[in-house]
């Protein structure tokens, strides 16, 4: 992509009057694309409400996100997932400052790029959609997904792992916008800010901003949905969810990290043995996987053939291997991976299993193309300097938990969460 973007650099030369409106140009949004016009008709709106024109789900399908804890957070129903795409309507939601997403009119929305740049820029949505775009399938996962404190009493995979989802995202590379604006010498970070009332902000190092970050307006072939940031969000592949700023309206180029409250308190990784040290700038999510069928709360009707299936993902790159165990980790077999593989995306794995009717402990373990292997609970504990029993009692919130997960199948076929097996 870098060579592509170099080739495209300053592509706005002929159309410079459009993009380089400057910050004073806020009211200059006179451009209207035919796209906006075709979308704007009342006829289309009426038709969208007609099931013949906007195909609804069957009334027998009512898989939904479920509320976990208090506040406006809900989890993807991974136990119902098939393939690698999460339906946009079922993408997990964590909102920090509100119960409902803001109701943004895309014709009024603007993205501002300013700070340490040669040419501050302001874009309408229509202008962004004219620019060179890319589409990529990526997961987004909350750093708190599967945190032991909140998840140890959970029953289903929706409750234990439902803060991860995967979509085909479409947008403009942030690097392209930054190059158009002209990043000044000494600029080392960007600060992204949301248009919602909470003004959620996130600092991102320039190196990542120039690498693979998207300013995304499309999700699974249609506009990003309101809960996911309509009309515009940041997509920071492989980094914790909080970095993927929704309702994006401002990108400031700066020479330091601005650690906002949410970054410095809520999202640092405290060492649970309380030696006073914390891991800052630990943004990338490690290799992780979970079996979605059979999973907690389900029941196998009897011995015989089952396809064990689940999802694996890593912030570090492409999943190269998933192994499955049915005996609590004593032996492992290679699962099949859905092809083609996508970088920093949910990867579906499948493994054929003949259940003999005896008690079984199902686990999955993934490896990414950097060679990083999903750790066991024992390995994570050693890394943190605690015993495995620590996780059963602690009230310390732990982010970036990516340990191998266990589901216990009892002889009656019921499947139970066995987080610390």
């Amino acid at each position: 992509m870098n060579s592509k973007e170099r080739g495209r650099r300053r592509f706005l030369k002929d159309g410079a009057a459009m993009a380089q409106l400057g910050l004073a140009g806020l009211a200059a949004g006179t451009l209207r694309s035919a796209k906006a016009q075709t979308l704007g008709s009342e006829t289309a709106e009426a038709r969208a409400k007609d099931t013949r024109f906007y195909g609804e789900r069957s009334r027998f399908v009512n898989s939904a996100r479920t509320l976990v804890g208090t506040g406006p957070a809900s989890n993807t129903p991974l136990q119902d997932s098939v393939g690698i795409i999460t339906p946009s309507s079922l993408h997990y939601v964590v909102m920090r400052f509100r119960d409902e997403p803001p109701d943004i009119d895309p014709r009024q929305h603007r993205l501002v790029i300013h700070g340490m740049v040669d040419r501050p820029l302001i874009f309408t949505m229509e202008e962004l959609k004219r620019m060179p775009s890319v589409s990529r399938i990526h997961f987004v996962e909350c750093a708190g997904n599967t945190s032991p404190v909140e998840r140890r009493s959970a029953k289903t995979v929706q409750e234990t792992h439902g803060w991860t989802s995967c979509s085909e995202w479409t947008g403009v590379p942030l690097s392209l916008l930054l190059k158009e604006a002209g990043v000044q010498k000494g600029a080392t970070w960007v600060v992204a800010q949301s248009a919602d009332a909470g003004k959620h902000t996130k600092s991102i190092p320039m190196e990542k901003a120039m690498y693979d970050v998207l300013v995304a307006y499309g999700q699974n072939g249609e506009p990003v949905r309101p809960h996911q940031g309509f009309p515009l969000r940041l997509l920071v592949p492989g980094w914790e969810g909080v970095a993927n700023v929704k309702w994006l309206r401002r990108i400031q180029v700066v020479d330091r990290s601005y650690m906002m409250k949410v970054e410095s308190v809520d999202y640092t990784v405290l060492r649970p043995n309380m030696d006073g040290k914390a891991l800052w700038y630990n943004f990338q999510l490690g290799p992780k996987s979970v079996i979605t069928f059979p999973s907690g709360g389900q029941r196998l009707p009897g011995r015989g053939f089952y396809e064990i299936t689940g999802l694996a993902w890593s912030g570090g790159g492409t999943i190269r291997r998933v192994e499955v165990s049915t005996d609590g980790g004593r032996s492992w077999k290679d699962a099949q991976l859905q092809q083609p593989l996508h970088r920093i995306a949910h990867t579906r794995f499948r493994w054929d299993w003949n259940w003999d009717g005896e008690e079984a402990v199902l686990q999955s373990r993934c490896t990414d193309d950097q060679g990083d292997v999903q750790p066991s609970v024992a390995q994570i504990s050693k890394q943190w300097g605690v015993t495995t029993d620590f996780w059963k009692e602690t009230e310390t919130r732990v982010n970036h938990w990516n340990a191998i997960h266990s589901w216990k199948v009892t002889r009656d076929g019921s499947v139970q969460n066995a987080l610390f097996s």
Copy 2:
């Protein structure tokens, strides 16, 4: 996949009691998976209606399928498409015998495999979901898409090309079910039948049935939607849409093709010069592409930079190359293809264009990995033995039209359908 399936052959050995219920076992549907149980709660249903739990589109987004002609057919709004996935709700619809899809209770639905097999089989949906599955991204296109008779007066790409859509489909390989049933010597075709009142049927040669056909229950990460065949449809990659039988309930293994009315009259390809000959068994769709932006009915607000983008697909395999012309085919430039490439799938292409404000004719031309190149209108005409003017007047319906498509950009920026440029 073949080696995979060979390895899995007779996987039901231990669970044979489940699958080999035989045709008399229709009432034996006593198995209930936990999945069905978790889906069935009224609480989940209530939550699904709550926008916090089932994320709706923005009220500013009303892109919808549009009715074309008479009857229950509607087109995908390709002018609004981004990436390669079509939202399930916007997948094109052609229904032959009804205005609304049947309202099938998946707990009551059965798939029967019978005819020239050693072991007739009957499956509940829960049984199918336990079996080895695959997920693949494939397009589905109606053979009549872009037929000149219906499309020459069309204005938008939704009207000219909207009978093609692309989804991640999940299901069981038909080959696996056929191997379980045990195909008898001399069997050369399968006949697939729908559960709807029209009992739509389609004959498919055994060679294709054993190659890459899916019995699909998943679409874009959730159950197939009613308009697309809930709870079960056939997915016949690269073949005309009519072969992808929706609401699938019966697969009969036979020793000849049963040419039903819809196959023998509506879907044969008549030679338009009326020499009395017809092409039968012409099922595979050729290489085809179209520019979705800028496209008919849209208006460019002024000269300057635009990303030309569109979709290419081929029933023959993977798209390897897309070229774009802005001068009506006198010169061509290679477009960028969205990675990774998927076989028999929509492939997004992109090309950077600086419009000088003069009249332009935009075209795209694709090549698949078999070396097949999308033909020009002149080449198609020559193949049919007619002049290019023929298409402007004929009332003969032509299926499998895959000619290079032209959009004319006038100096005022408006974009017009120029089907026969």
